[in-house]
């Protein structure tokens, strides 16, 4: 094992060609994961709440959407965005946004599932009590049910951030120079130390994802205190 290939290319792995060129490497991985996760959280809450609205066609639409997204591989969604976004906008779309769009659409479906489970976990009595005090149904959702549901779901959201961080590794397929792309580039250039390169990159992903997993477990213990 000879890890000089890592030390020689360390800044390249971490930030890509930045500041001379575009941001890449681990920094881009984290950027893609965070942006997609925040957007997917918004999308997931909207989808999750929409599946409780008293409007049947909308509920079917949401169910259909989540089923499709959860039934196909992420690679498919990435390729779809790669083909469809330029057609829809009638101009080339930056690869970063292709990937962010795909990750957001894909992860929203999983987030929606979490949000729905969260809404169901709020005791029925809460809803009834809120209605009895004279709140309107949307107020019950916005001020009583959703805040408690989201609080219960925080650990699951962190787990989803772990999944998204792992999923950003597929961005290299459309040429986004995040960590995995850099690893394949360095590997193609050097050709001599593939095991070292991929073990190192795996370790980098592991440090990030494992810390987040631990955070989610800690939050889960923390948030279960003082629970009804």
């Amino acid at each position: 094992m000879d890890f000089s290939v890592i030390t020689d290319n360390f800044t390249y792995f971490m930030i890509g060609r930045y500041p001379q060129g575009a941001l890449g490497g681990l920094a881009l991985t984290l950027y893609l994961a965070l942006v997609s996760c925040v957007l997917a959280l918004v999308g997931g809450v909207m989808l999750g709440v929409a599946s409780y609205l008293p409007f049947r066609p909308l509920r079917w639409l949401v169910r259909g959407y989540t089923h499709v997204m959860r039934g196909v591989p992420l690679l498919m969604v990435i390729f779809w965005m790669y083909f469809l976004l330029p057609l829809a906008f009638k101009q080339p779309v930056p690869e970063n946004w292709t990937v962010i769009a795909a990750l957001t659409l894909f992860t929203s479906a999983y987030m929606a599932h979490i949000v729905r489970a969260g809404i169901e976990s709020v005791p029925q009595g809460q809803r009834e009590a809120a209605l009895a005090t004279g709140l309107k149904p949307w107020q019950v959702m916005a001020y009583v049910v959703l805040p408690q549901a989201l609080r219960n779901m925080i650990p699951s959201f962190v787990n989803e951030l772990v999944a998204v961080t792992k999923d950003t590794s597929l961005a290299f397929i459309v040429g986004v120079s995040e960590l995995t792309h850099i690893a394949t580039q360095v590997n193609n250039r050097e050709l001599t130390h593939p095991a070292e390169i991929f073990l190192f990159v795996a370790a980098v992903y592991f440090v990030i994802c494992f810390s987040l997993t631990q955070l989610s477990r800690w939050l889960e213990r923390r948030l279960s205190w003082g629970q009804v």
């Binding site: 196909v72 590794s169 593939p194 991929f198």
Partner: protein, 235 residues
Amino acid sequence: MLNYQFDWRVVASGTYAEWLWQGLLLTLQLAALSCVLGFMLGLLVAIVRMSPVAPLRWLAQAYLEFIRNTPLVIQIFFWYFGAYEVLPQAVNDWLNQWRFEFVAAVIALTVYTSAFIAEDIRSGIRAVPREQMEAARSQGFGYLAAMRFVILPQAVRITVPPLIGQFLNATKNSSLAMTIGVAELTFQARQIESVAFKGLEAFTAATLIYLLVSLTITAVVSSYEQRYLRPGGVR
């Protein structure tokens, strides 16, 4: 919105339909192989994970955490590009008898799937109430007999739906094998795109095939749950 001429005939019959069919077969092969092998490995890891010897437990735990917290595509690249450096020569020679990209994909998917299956098995066993074991022991069953006749039959029933779900995950995960040139479904769709410039048709067809697989699996799981896991169902 779209300025694109669709031509569905290209993927509905002829060479390209044949490519998609071959791709689907390879996808299912990858998923089935990695699930069967992953189940064996996962069962082993789950048993070690619950063993009374602490260092063994830590080892299994480390394995699970490492596999679950690194991207699958990196693991595929590791096995495809890097494994020969760390494996003994005899193993390399043995592996090289087959198409190596397929072997590497199966190894990576097996290892990845095993970590998730191990957790499913463990939570299945833990889902059986502790009193069941105590009651069985008080009836005169030994530990192993209680496991064999009381705990495991219930645990297996609970574990079946997540295990079938793992087959669905393996089907979706196998799409990553295209990155090392395994000609599974996603690979074939992309191939059609680059040969015939019919990307949208090819990816629509591939998406529908994946959906068909996932709907089938979802239906199997829910009918199983209806039959065996609902209170009042056949017990």
